[in-house]
Amino acid sequence: MYKYDAYDHALVRERIEEFRDQVARRLDGRLTEDQFKPLRLMNGVYLQLHAYMLRVAIPYGTLNGPQLRTLAHIARRYDRGYGHFTTRTNIQFNWPALVDVPDILDHLAKVEMHAIQTSGNCIRNVTADPFAGAAADEIEDSRPWAEIIRQWSTFHPEFTFLPRKFKIAVNGARDDRAGIRVHDIGLQIVKNEAGETGFEVWVGGGQGRTPRLAQKIRDFLEPRDLLSYLTAILRVYNQHGRRDNLYKARIKILVEALGAEEFGRQTEEEWAEIREGELELPAAEIARIRAFFDRPAVSKAQPVPVSGKPGFAGWLRRNRRAHQVEGLSSVVISLKPVGGTPGDITDDQLDIVADLAERYGFDEARATPDQNLVLPHVRNEDLETVWDALVAAGLATANAGLATDIVSCPGLDYCSLANARSIPIAQAISSLVEAEGLAEPVGDVTIKIDGCINACGHHHVAHIGVLGVDKRGEEFYQITLGGAFGNDASIGGIVGKGLAGEDVPGAIVRVLKTYLEIRDENERFIDTLRRVGADAFKESIYVAA
């Protein structure tokens, strides 16, 4: 895991002292809200329905024990005993007082964390495969590249006031678990015919009100050219992005308007001017950053255990993932208890995950785009001990990838942008799916819910998406089918008219039952849906509505 150097520490410390002074000036009236708002947003402080919200950056989702304990301490002392993991692998605290935020940032700085790049029209927190450095299907660890991009983009003066926010994801495995096709820039690590590692470069993806899949503009980018090429893309965007219209300001609109080929041509033209300059990555610097991300070693590899304890085998089957090192496994810690709030975790649970990461996980945990946590490196002989501890903590729900593993934005229960509630819909769906005993029989399916079209809950790329809308003061929910996040990325289509909230869980359950009736043997939900088309499910959605 990357360790701050003196420069990193100084950068974060200086920012905290600057923000402490800005908060003081806001509280004593020297700054108006209009003056203060952009400053607080640059430090991750939003004003939501009930309170301020602090969004803490978790670069490429990677956390260690001391960081998890600090998040627990913040939840306990400054919030209401819990935090909320987001689809951008950050954590949000929903109830901090403004007067406490500088002190909270102090606590974070002590464990090399901050809230920079979690808001504003800058390059946001870079995301990566949550199983990076562990996954059995990995081509190369994506974290060093995400860290290099983090360092390059932090406070980058040219890219601090872009037309809109800008999101970059790096995936280093064969399976895309970072969602590169729904990012402003997606980088896929590949090997060329000579066996050399480089990047496919995808641009112009995104969700929100105009969902678009990214398009590939380069088949192979040499690693040394990464920063110069990113700079070239951002310069084309910065020059031509639509600053006149908030809803057309993302790079996806520009790429669509120019066409990917022309956008790529302009990028290459700009790149030709700068590629041999100071942005070329020295091999020594790449090696220095890589050295922070050692692969854990195991002296005596043990097999994955088979235990007689009820529940353990099921948890292994759903929540364990194969590891690239023999004798190790990765495990998903589900933050989706049936009927619970997706992504929420209590202070005590954060402490327990810290304990487990330190004792059994090579001091690493990851946050995932599905609002779960991962222990990426667990010795096989420790799996049952870890599971026992998770059971005791209420964190052993064996539902990773099932219909109860629902992604949800905070929605109208917290968010000032939302039009409708989303968490209660997620809770009701997961409770009904569980009551009907459908999760295991249905198997892999993604259900994602949003309370507005900004789509923080990623409903566009869910097999079953739910979008809350407001119609003259009443909540309605549109169902989308056929979206996907990953190698087979696609944007879901709206099935028909919106449903009342109380009708949504039943409609989803009927869709799942229809799948069970019509699927071919060993066919996943999304494969059946693609084979038969969304119309085959339409009747099941509206039959009783």
């Binding site: 309170a51 209401r80 007082a97 403004l98 229960d413 917290y414 968490i423 209660p424 003061g473």
Partner: protein, 89 residues
């Protein structure tokens, strides 16, 4: 009828403006206003510094939040509807 609501500067909590020009966390202590009086009071609140952030008018019907934004304002008043341990104190 209308009332004026905002978030408290120090901690962001939901507050309502009283007839005395103070701010309260209780909607039942809010001043009920209509027409020009509501706009005038809002302008007054916007010009003040110190306690409230972003004051705006909300509809009140039967002593509760009303109008098209009734649910949003009801959630602001009573807290998240998500249950479990996350009810506001």
């Amino acid at each position: 009828m209308k009332a004026i609501t905002a978030n408290r500067l120090t901690d962001g909590r939901v507050i309502y403006r009283t007839a005395e020009g103070q701010w309260s966390s209780r909607l039942d202590e809010a001043e009920h206003l209509d027409g020009d009086a509501a706009e005038a009071r809002l302008a007054q609140a916007e010009a003040e510094f110190g306690i409230a952030v972003g004051p705006y008018l909300i509809d009140i019907e039967d002593e509760r939040p009303g109008g098209q934004k009734w649910r949003r304002e009801a959630i602001r008043l009573t807290g998240p509807t998500t249950g479990s341990t996350h009810e506001p104190a």
